[in-house]
């Protein structure tokens, strides 16, 4: 069990309200990702759920019970920190055993659980080492091990992969996703990386300035962003946003079209422009196009390696059915 409900939760630091009244339900077993630019309040929100920060007003319920005033340890949650936050003076074994020792569990049971967790996380050979003797990825696994031995009702992850290099990050991403499938426990995950959010989440919560902009599955957010902020934040490369006459011709203040929804054609394109920087990835090519008369830069994704050079004229054909239309307030027009 691990259903978390936030009801009219607010948080202020002094006179500054960082989280205006907010409601959110995280269902049992769900992998929920909080995503948003830095300073959007996503980590603060996670810390409020953890109990590491006190909420200013409102209620937090965990499994239907009021947890608003409970200390972190009594909430039945485990947390994995960005810096791993391992105890440097303890061996891996003692690190993982620490929450069980605090729970006054008997030695034999602790040993069994620690070894079980070590096996799941491939840490068996490292149990007697100190955290300082481990690589970044191994440390992260120890931090996860320390979280899973408690068998918490939910896991909280605060940007756990941002200290790892790119290759390791992809690997750990898969491991965490698999762990979620295996344990079938609620996970709340904070990241500023929308790729992490898209690949891991059952449900994404997009935050900006402490306000929830949209909640939905990755594909819901991709297909039907509720406003311009979400439209620009979800998807890589970013959605092209066009205003002015072109938008007006579609009865909108702003229209959005994703780079993958604009086709490069030989001639007779609806739009045309000059090729600026091109990024050749092999499988795809991203063109940054200028002088279209639509926006400063238009990003277009072409499949495979398309041979166009800097300064060439490019013809483009947008798939009009994929247009996202927004009104003057930036809200989606259905």
């Amino acid at each position: 069990m691990g259903k978390i409900e936030l009801k009219q939760v607010t948080k202020s630091f002094g006179d500054v309200q960082v989280i205006p009244p907010l409601d959110l339900t995280i269902e049992d077993g769900e992998f929920t990702v909080f995503v948003g630019p830095s300073g959007c309040g996503k980590s603060t929100l996670l810390r409020l759920i953890a109990g590491l920060e006190d909420i200013t007003s409102g209620h937090i319920e965990i499994d239907g019970k009021d947890a608003t005033n409970l200390v972190p340890a009594k909430r039945g949650l485990a947390m994995v920190f960005q810096s791993y936050a391992l105890y440097p003076h303890m061996s891996v074994r003692k690190n993982i055993a620490f929450p069980l020792k605090m729970a006054k569990m008997d030695q034999a049971a602790i040993k069994k659980r620690v070894e079980g967790a070590a096996q799941v996380l491939n840490l068996t050979d490292y149990l007697d080492r100190r955290p300082g003797q481990l690589s970044g990825g191994q440390r992260q696994r120890v931090a996860i091990g320390r979280a899973i031995v408690r068998e918490p009702s939910a896991f909280l992850f605060d940007e756990p992969l941002s200290n790892l290099d790119a290759a390791l990050r992809v690997g750990m991403r898969m491991e965490i996703s698999e762990l979620h499938k295996k344990l079938d426990t609620t996970m709340v995950y904070v990241t500023h990386d929308q790729v992490e959010a898209m690949t891991m989440a059952d449900k994404i919560v997009v935050l900006q300035a402490g306000v929830i902009e949209q909640v939905g599955s990755p594909l819901e957010l991709y297909r039907a962003p509720r406003n311009i902020f979400v439209a620009g934040f979800i998807g890589s490369p970013k959605m092209n946003l066009i205003s002015g006459a072109e938008a007006a011709s579609h009865d909108a203040h702003t229209i959005g079209i994703r780079p993958e929804h604009i086709d490069v054609v030989e001639s007779d394109g609806q739009w045309q422009g000059t090729v600026g920087v091109s990024e050749h990835l092999g499988s795809d090519t991203f063109f940054h196009i200028h002088n279209t008369g639509l926006a400063d830069t238009l990003t277009v994704r072409a499949i495979g390696d398309v041979n166009l050079r800097h300064g060439d004229t490019i013809h483009l054909k947008p798939r009009t059915a994929e247009f996202h239309r927004f009104d003057a307030q930036g809200l989606r027009i259905a």
């Binding site: 953890a50 340890a73 960005q82 936050a85 003076h89 620490f98 929450p99 605090m102 320390r146 408690r150």
Partner: protein, 276 residues
């Protein structure tokens, strides 16, 4: 690129360092040497350096005249007790200042340090009266309290500096793991700050051991530590340099030996956090 140091330069620096070291150490060395001279040799002009008749007479006289062990024991209790009590009070204080600071934390730290700038004699009279009132005059308990209070600002400051180096996330992790505040301080914070705590303890033990103003003014016979033991040999009548030196050597020997064996720890603690 690493800065190149030529062997000649290195030799020069080594010589300068040794010269400074010897200048600082010379008075202590002279005291130790004098303690092995006769009273006549101790005041001879020109002074004799190494070539004199070495004697242990001063030590046996000092030993006969006064009970060294009792002074030593008082010193150990007063220095050890005040340091221990100080650390017990300072650990929670430094914890709160380092991890849950308020807007006034910096002011409090500065105010605490400012009390060290007050000349001790300025508060001698009120403290003396309070001691009489509470019956603490010439008691070890009284001295433990006074020396603890006097060194507390330094202990808090040192511990605060070490605690600041410990990432708050680790303590939060402990809290998530179910540690109570006591367990968090006992199992996580303290072991991580051990080098810092050790050097704080050592430094304050040495400061308390050497403290003379309060120990001389607030004791008479019963609670007198080694500082009083030395002072009792510096009488205005008669010249007993050799005996005074013997007493001094006996008084500083324990702390000198302690300092010698813990110098690595002391240096490590004092530079703790300087290099990550």
């Amino acid at each position: 690129m690493a800065r190149a140091v030529t062997p000649r330069r290195k030799a020069l620096f080594t010589m300068i360092a040794w010269a400074i070291g010897l200048v600082i150490f010379f008075p202590i060395l002279w005291t130790i040497l004098t303690s092995f001279k006769t009273e006549a040799q101790a005041i001879s002009d020109p002074p004799v350096f190494l070539f004199f008749d070495w004697t242990l007479e001063n030590y046996s006289v000092v030993q006969e005249r006064s009970n060294y062990m009792r002074f030593l024991w008082n010193s150990v209790i007063i220095a050890g007790g005040s340091t221990l009590l100080g650390v017990m009070i300072a650990v929670p204080a430094a914890w709160s200042m380092a991890f849950v600071p308020s807007t006034r934390t910096k002011d409090i730290l500065l105010w605490m340090l400012s009390t060290k700038m007050l000349p001790a004699v300025g508060v001698l009279y009120p403290i003396y009266l309070i001691f009489i009132e509470l019956g603490l005059l010439d008691t070890r308990t009284g001295l433990v309290i006074v020396l603890m209070l006097i060194n507390l600002p330094i202990i808090v400051w040192m511990l605060y500096t070490y605690f600041k180096e410990i990432p708050g996330e680790i303590l939060e992790a402990a809290r998530m793991d179910g540690a109570t505040l006591k367990e968090e301080i006992l199992y996580v914070l303290t072991p991580m700050a051990i080098p810092g705590i050790a050097s704080t303890v050592l430094l304050n033990f040495i400061l308390a051991w050497n403290e003379a103003f309060w120990t001389l003014n607030l004791t008479a016979a019963k609670a007198a530590p080694l500082t009083a033991f030395i002072a009792s040999y510096s009488s205005p009548e008669g010249l007993f340099y050799a005996k005074l030196s013997a007493a001094s050597t006996m008084a500083i020997a324990p702390i000198l030996i302690l300092g010698w064996f813990s110098q690595k720890q002391l240096v490590r603690g004092l530079t703790f956090g300087a290099v990550k």
